[in-house]
Assembly symmetry: C2
Homo-oligomer: 159 residues x 2
């Protein structure tokens, strides 16, 4: 049987460590689907009480930003993403309608100004709550990546 | 002033979509620090009610697993990681003591057996709650990565 650590599971309630300042005010403005490029500049505005947690972050070129899909409603285990006309499981897509509404974006750190991180590559809406920031420490070599249905959809799209 | 989307922030309570089956029973057994290799095999056991969400995940070689540091207590904005003797901000490290106790591991998908994903590269403890799984769609070229204090600590360690 599947059980967690002990009889009761210690889960947590999310809290914002800051908010995204983004050029995108509405979902329809965010580039989506095949070949979508996320080159928009934005600012990760960290709340003053968490600024100490940014110490020495300047040395990293890329950051993993975990944020909350705060405008998504519920979840859908099977859905058809904008990049395909076939349905896929939510854990095989980046759909916002997930059991835990956590999103992930890798951004390039341009500079830090106090509690503000100026970054490139945002795909979040303006005022999105940020849950966590982690340094990107390693990368899977591109030649070792297999991208499943997405690669197939791309191949069909260009065929 | 920093504000979220609207007057009240819609945050969420985490829920487990499954649990990790890992060879590591205790924190001390997980390889840590400079040059730590995570090659251990494990199984992501997804709860039956979420199995549909795995549809077509088989085509991806690498998965991003978000999981909960369910055995960490509170958070620490400044701390000294095992890989250095200097203190760094929590958002510049992978410390488990974070404002939102969310961890991230990239694993290689070996095979799927129903609701079980057999993977390589686990660094979670046995029975760790899984929050989310996402396909790894792209990678930052290694030559573009700067790794801040970690690269410095490695250079000192080998010098």
């Amino acid at each position: 049987m599947l059980t967690g650590n002990g009889d009761t599971l210690k889960m947590f309630t999310s809290r914002a460590i800051g908010f995204v300042s983004s050029p995108y005010k509405d979902t329809g403005e965010v580039p989506k689907g095949l070949g979508a490029q996320h080159q928009a500049d934005g600012v990760l505005k960290i709340l003053p009480e968490f600024e100490l947690g940014l110490t020495n972050i300047e040395g990293f070129s890329h950051l993993i930003v975990l944020w909350e899909f705060d405008r998504a409603q519920g979840f859908e285990l099977l859905g058809t993403p904008p990049s395909d006309n076939r349905a896929h499981g939510v854990f095989a897509t980046r759909s916002p309608r997930r059991p835990n509404p956590i999103a992930l974006t890798i951004v390039e750190l341009l500079r830090r100004e106090g509690s503000e991180l100026h970054v490139r590559g945002v795909d979040m809406l303006d005022r999105t709550p940020i849950l966590d920031i982690k340094p990107l420490l390693s990368s899977i070599p591109v030649e070792r990546l297999r991208r499943g249905w997405l690669a197939e959809a791309e191949a069909r799209g260009s065929g």
